[in-house]
Subunit: 382 residues, 2 copies
């Protein structure tokens, strides 16, 4: 697999917005960009591979301001948030985060945000890449609940890697080392109001810093880089190699509105028998009873190392018939293998099953493999 | 204004999707990309200026597959579409297009699509850059209307420029020259089912070809390029210079959910006294009665020619106070002037008013100017 995909420039303008950390990431030398929730977002700094090694060996700082927050407040906020997700939130405490799926009436997945409970009537949904502000406002029109739904001035950073706690202790004192997984605190950093959570999109130990005033973008970024210097911190970005190794899914790539939670093996996020009502309850119960015809699996691909991630879903063939497609694929320099996530007909998902994958460079063999490919460094998403 | 904004590469992956015309645009040599509705979209080919001259002198072909369609069908489709927009659609005929605003409960703008009426119970909303599929499905949950809402396999191209009709006649025969502005027909092209409308985002004479089967992307692109060869057709893209000259607005840049239709001078798209109910009716009537505090205007900016479009909203100052900001700005080589769209306090919108604009390269003078800066070649959007 040696075809180098053309990599053109990205055009800037005001339709897609810049992050409060844009000037900082420019100073620190981003080399490639993507977009996320109508914002520009660095895709890598030195190279995807160099960023990967810094992430798994040291510690990295990411501008993920594109993870916009949908803020839900008001007397019926808790009931409304519960209405948006099949996961039972009745035991969720203030200061706690929850990984959620949002589903539509038919059980299709709309987003997989992290919920932050700031108060009994104050919630954030920290979003993957889709306009949940529009979805939530649309639902609210006739829902008969007293809620206010908006997008606050909040821009997250991620600090990810085995030395992440060292950096946070240098910034905030020894107490932060006790912050439990999927819990958060409210504090200040470089004079700016922030929320700090023990969450992240790497499978490594890590934190998110939610900046609550975009005027402090430069100050907060530089303060973290300075505190991280003794720990060899590097600027980086959400890393496709690491997240595929860890079996972490990307909304829009590995799941879309056309997938239900069962197909991507996230049944653990469904509480279908809870008393509370939520959107998609009837459909999801029906799917649970009937079963699904396709499932997400890991695939190891034969062939020489892939130069870059796939840019299309590659068809997967068995006995001349298409039985699924590769949603994401990349070469892992640590595992010395081409790793892929794929959605397959359930009758083709047996471990060790060998299939033909039609890549951009021709057919290779894909072998169904256990997920995650490489152990996560911290416990499963809470 | 000579600062060259860093222009890094764009990273490809499967989270953002490729268009059916992706291989064709690669062969024809795109040089820069943007994203639109979760799809990659060429931003220019030779250069923004060279593309501009081809657009205003000859004819150009654009991959705008990112203009996704929301398809609304079912017994209550007409009533539901009317419910989504303040514009009175009661006289809209099959085969007709309408330029619409979609507004939320508070009158905030969610999108400015083109509506295509394919049948009495069959509509497309051809979208600007926001997830109206999610909005419409959210609204539908409790709206009590019998509708089906989806995203069909439809990918538009635009053929724009003074010689556009010549190309369409070469492709489809002399009859297409009679197609009226904002009307469409259903036909085939290169064996593929298409809809052809006399619409576009250039202010020049032009057409859109809505490809209804993504397998034909290459064939349709090449067929159009071949038919256009005698007319010196060039591959190009939505052109910021031309659209600002023409005073055409870009959703996300010049208007967002925080703006109402009055602020961007699109009152003509509101029929507030119609009998039919629509989302935002109460709020928009209230705004109409109270008036607005800010308005979109044209500004001509002093200083040397801008190298590229602005990437942030620039503050506008009068007597030391911020009175608005520039939403879009670019240098027009035809008008030999830096042109901008801006949203200003209404007390600063008088024609000829001079204001300070704080650009990335320092302060310049902005003079309030009539819109459009340069006459549209065809009648105002229907």
């Amino acid at each position: 697999m040696t075809t180098i995909e053309t990599q053109p420039k990205i055009s800037f303008g005001t339709r897609i917005h810049v992050s409060p950390f844009f000037n900082a990431t420019r100073r620190w030398g981003y080399k490639s960009y993507t977009t996320y929730n109508h914002m520009f977002m660095p895709a890598f700094f030195e190279s995807p591979e160099a960023d990967f090694w810094k992430l798994v060996n040291d510690v990295t700082l990411w501008d993920v301001a594109g993870e916009r927050q949908v803020e839900i407040t008001g007397p019926d906020a808790a009931r409304f948030v519960q209405y948006l997700t099949p996961r039972d939130l009745s035991a969720c405490k203030i200061g706690q985060c929850k990984y959620l799926l949002l589903t539509d009436n038919e059980g299709g997945i709309l987003n997989d945000p992290i919920l932050l409970k700031l108060g009994d009537d104050h919630f954030w949904l920290s979003l993957a890449d889709s306009d949940i502000l529009f979805w939530a406002r649309g639902v609210a029109i006739h829902a008969g609940m007293d809620v206010k739904i908006g997008e606050p001035d909040v821009s997250p950073l991620q600090i990810q890697g085995p030395k992440a706690t060292d950096v946070m202790v240098a910034l905030l004192g020894a107490g932060i080392a006790d912050l439990a997984y999927f819990r958060f605190i409210q504090t200040t950093l470089a004079g700016a109001p922030v929320i700090v959570s023990r969450t992240g999109w790497s499978g490594e130990r890590g934190y998110e810093v939610f900046l609550r005033d975009s005027n402090y973008g430069d100050a907060v970024w530089e303060t973290i880089m300075e505190a991280g210097e003794p720990f060899e911190i590097a600027p980086a970005a959400p890393n496709t190699i690491r997240r595929i190794e860890a079996g972490i899914l990307s909304y829009g790539a590995d799941m879309t509105i056309k997938n239900n939670p069962f197909e991507i093996n996230l049944e653990r996020l469904l509480d279908l028998d809870q008393d509370a009502d939520f959107i998609g309850k009837t459909s999801l119960k029906k799917i649970a009873a009937e079963g699904v015809r396709r499932r997400l699996v890991g695939l190891k691909l034969s062939g020489s190392p892939m130069i870059s991630a796939n840019i299309r879903r590659w068809p997967i063939i068995r006995d001349g018939e298409t039985v699924g497609n590769v949603t994401s694929a990349i070469y892992s320099p640590r595992m010395e293998a081409n790793l892929a996530l794929a959605i397959l007909s359930v009758d083709a998902t047996e471990l060790g099953q060998e299939l033909i994958v039609e890549t951009v460079d021709g057919p290779v063999t894909g072998t169904v493999s256990p997920l995650p490919f490489h152990q996560k460094m911290q416990t499963a998403q809470a």
